[in-house]
Symmetry: none
Subunit: 243 residues, 2 copies
């Protein structure tokens, strides 16, 4: 747990970025706002001369970037992951503006690692990727042309995060330790397994049950102890099903 | 559409931009936020293929750009001109943050043309150029590295202008029907019952389990459908326990 500057606890995650120039411009956008932790999930080209050129004076951010092979790997240890969009997306998650999201993120980041997740330049975030996040945050862009460049979107979010940090939001009253995304993922798997074993869920015909469960768990912002309680309960009710 | 659209009355002025890529990226940044009037004072290269490439879907803004040979020419008819910087500059002018400036600009732009003026990538605005403006506005950037890319600075100002224009009209996106407190109470009772029947909870020694469950359900802000899903699941896993 890192106390102090909330911006130090915020990581920017780019999933499958296509253009190295955007990776460099992202590093620059981050550093101008005091962010330093860049995570790259399967970048098409990295490292790359164009990334370095566009990073300008933020070469250090680029050089310290963490390259991952999956989004869960990039989100490890985070208590909050926010998916970003320039559009208001389907309502599978709580949706909020960049400004609202920044205040909530900075509040959590006072004590815990949090992640802001950006999709590929063309395809954005997949449903599966978004499903690993707690909320959607969007930039209220021109509905007739909402196509922000990737690094420009990062710039706006980074700016709002800095503004929120400067504003001095009240730190979240953390009575209990929040669950990590890894713990919540394990709980989700446990639920899924028990639902199948009990016959409640037919894996051949799952309908919308699992995405809805994921959405519910994302919104609940579970604590670590609560995950343990729910998994204990699932273990207990699951036992007779296996007899 | 934004009421009496003030964004239509706001021009972005780039003075002596060196890199055509930045001109294109500026056009894109503007259009994503609903701005359309781009003025270029003595651009080094314009038009240029790189400007067109970086403009992406904002080629129309680029094609309609007005090329001028002096800043006074670009400011003609404007009732307000705001010089921009990523640093807090010398106090020869009124200085305000991008957010404060955006509110003032939008207010004037409801009725009159106003200009937001950006300097050259390397040298910024000269004293002479700044002297033609009414105020300085700055992006509150990282004091250790405040070097925003030109188009990134335009993106932040354009975003703040749009936010100022739509302020108050941003409603939180309506979600699915929320559960009533009665439904949540029934779910809580159902959980309690299944926890007891499964042996997970000893009613003679409940510890803090039930208050924590209640707290979790309260925080989750459940939807009506989600209560039904969870109760269906509890019903299914509860059946074998009664045999």
């Amino acid at each position: 747990m890192i106390q102090g500057d909330p911006l130090k606890n915020i990581r920017v995650v780019l999933t499958q970025p296509s253009h190295p120039g955007n990776i460099g411009a992202t590093a620059r956008a981050m550093k101008t706002m005091g962010l330093g932790a860049l995570y790259l999930v399967n970048p098409r080209h990295f490292p790359h001369a164009e990334a370095a050129a566009r990073a300008s004076g933020a070469l250090d951010v680029l050089e310290r970037a963490t390259v991952c092979t999956s989004l869960p790997e990039a989100l490890r240890d985070c208590v909050l992951a926010v998916a970003t969009s320039s559009r208001q997306r389907e309502l599978r998650h709580d949706v909020m503006s960049a400004r609202e999201a920044a205040r909530a993120i900075v509040s959590d980041a006072a004590a815990y690692p949090v992640a802001l997740v950006f999709g590929n330049e063309t395809s954005g975030l997949s449903s599966e990727e978004a499903g690993l996040c707690n909320w959607w945050a969007y930039v209220p862009a021109n509905p007739e042309y909402a196509s922000l460049n990737l690094a420009a979107a990062v710039q706006i979010f980074a700016y709002e995060l800095r503004m929120a940090a400067v504003e001095g939001t009240l730190a979240r009253v953390a009575e209990f330790a929040p669950a990590t995304s890894e713990q919540v993922e394990q709980l989700y798997r446990h639920f899924e397994q028990t639902m199948i074993e009990s016959g409640f869920l037919d894996p051949a015909n799952p309908k919308r049950l699992l995405p809805r469960l994921r959405r519910l768990l994302a919104r609940a912002r579970l604590e670590s102890d609560e995950v343990n309680i729910l998994r204990g309960f699932l273990k207990t009710v699951g036992k007779p099903l296996l007899k």
